[in-house]
Symmetry: C2
DNA sequence: CCAAGCTGAGATAACGTTATCTCGAAAGGT
DNA sequence: ACCTTTCGAGATAACGTTATCTCAGCTTGG
């Protein structure tokens, strides 16, 4: 910049004015500075700019896996772009250590705010950051033990809706195959399922299977649910990946068992019959997250909000299969 | 930092030394500084650090869609992490204007290097950045018209392999359904297919369909390929999304037509028969990209390299269906 | 004709780091 | 006892911006 000023024969400050389109610079000087910039190939340095300004115009997104389907992240990017904020994202790989590493990096880079899909139960490392003024919003899962803005799906009512839907279609023995209950959403959904069974006066028996998503385990779970004298006539799956795995295990039996999957996905309409799902409102989650983050950045004293976004049952056929006796 | 120095009763430089674990600080002072840091809640500011240091230890990744399956991006993150570099990613949404916006933002932020999935044919905006010392590596597609490092899959031999495989299984009338040929990879694959047909002395006729991925178009393409007096007995699809769409359109006929898809995907083994695919070596692409980027950052004068990574035929059943006459 | 206001542009001081240089004191060798 | 080395720690000057203050040169109104 100092070179540009010398080349154009103006003061440093004037170059800055031209770069920032300040109107108080005469047209002749603007031209001189412009050509000097072109001649010298000057590129402004945002690091210095952000340092001086205090803000970076950047939001961080720390998500499980960048390279996985994540409609919430897409909505977050869109909403941020509409607000003229840049989103820079990194993966946490569902690893607590890596999450901490990523979030702390973003803090040290003084991102204006962070959208986080939190992992695990211990987020103590966030306390000093929050005290130092970090604006943070958790999506999909809450930050346990800390009073932090968050946007969640209504997992429980999703499960209840699915359960009621199956009951209404005549099912009585409904199984649930879910993810590891150490994960918040998996825990919520499994608990909701237990309550549904209890409310209908049923016994769980072999009707609930949770744990890591792994082919062998899913195979056993499906087999257990469908075996015995009182086999399940319907299955609810805990997330999109599990729907796929369960379908894989069901094979050609898929048409005889009613199935409702948690999470909509592209392949829901690939199968016969098409998959009935509990769909999350990912656009609402993403845009709400950005809206809340912006509010907190604008005024760090804003009251903490915990928003629950409704889910929707999408009827496509697999959930309307009648019970086979 | 200056407050920490005052609190601890030491010089500014000494705080810096403690933060950077410089060994030339006495244990007593280290302790004093540590407690001062804790008391004041001091958080180091990477913006200033990077400004002073010159480098940022950060790579940018500008990809089509963060929130889509992208195994190359995952490999890029892994490889960068192994080299102690942080990757921050943003979506270009397959939009040239947005790509430019994203890349220029990363340049102004002085990222040490950028991994780019380039869009379109005009990357003139990159010229001044490259002259100013930007380290860039293109993945999946080349930067047309510019001499820039890139890592590509061997699209042509992938198509050739698929074609030969089908011929070897007795197929004679093989159709290709591909993506919009304005996209580099789609163009390469379609051209390779045309050459395969020519080399086998066949006529294209209704055997090649390219264009945007859209259900109606795919339906027409599938119908056209399978209609007439000499219908196709085998189909090659141009990418994973097209494999899904084509399968959706084939419906229950899927078992009668041989099918080889470009790109492996999770659902390849969900179907009956499992999908035979041309798989890209995404791990190799990602780690090679990082390796090349690191080499260029270390020495900007490194000769430009264009690497082509082999693809692999994975036989699963759908590509071995014999022709139906 | 002069004080007051406006306008365009320069000088200077931050923003929060780290590299370089300097210096005093302690330690070691002849 | 004196010179040299080593070591710990401070002062100062960058890195590349922008905000604030200043000032010269015009208008403009009474």
């Amino acid at each position: 910049m100092v070179d540009v000023a010398r080349e154009a024969g103006v003061a440093l400050r004037t170059v800055s004015r031209v770069v920032n389109q300040d109107s108080t610079v005469g047209p002749e000087l603007v031209q001189r500075v412009r050509t000097a910039i072109a001649v010298l190939g000057y590129r402004p340095d945002e690091r210095a700019r952000h340092l001086r300004l205090g803000v970076t115009g950047t939001l961080g997104a720390a998500v499980r896996q960048l390279s996985h389907v994540n409609p919430v992240l897409r909505a977050v990017e869109r909403a941020a772009r509409a607000a003229d904020l840049m989103v820079l994202a990194a993966s946490t790989e569902d690893d607590e250590t890596l999450e901490r590493h990523v979030v702390e990096s973003m803090c040290r880079r003084r991102f204006d705010g962070i959208v986080l899909e939190p992992i695990g139960d211990d987020h103590g490392y966030l306390v000093p950051e929050l005290e130092a003024g970090l604006s943070l919003v958790a999506v999909d899962r809450p930050v346990l033990g800390l009073d932090v803005d968050c946007v969640l799906s209504d997992n429980r009512s999703g499960i209840e809706t699915a359960y009621r839907h199956l009951v209404r279609h005549g099912h009585d023995r409904i199984a649930y195959i879910g993810d590891d209950e150490r994960i918040y959403t998996a825990r919520e959904r499994a608990m909701a399922f237990r309550e549904c069974v209890a409310a209908h006066g049923g016994a769980l028996g072999t009707m609930l299977h949770t744990g890591q998503v792994e082919s062998g385990r899913i195979r056993e779970a499906v087999r257990a649910a469908l075996a015995g004298p009182a086999p399940a006539t319907a299955i609810v799956t805990g997330n999109a990946q599990l729907s796929v795995e369960v379908l894989r295990q069901l094979g050609t039996d898929a048409v005889d068992v009613a199935l409702i999957g948690f999470d909509d996905s592209e392949l829901a309409t690939l199968l016969r019959p098409d998959l009935t799902v509990i769909a999350q409102d990912t656009d609402a989650i993403g845009s709400t997250a950005i809206e809340m983050l912006r509010a907190r950045i604008a005024d760090p004293a804003t009251e903490v909000r915990k928003v629950t976004v409704p889910v929707e049952l999408i009827v496509r056929g697999s959930g309307e299969v009648p019970p086979a006796f």
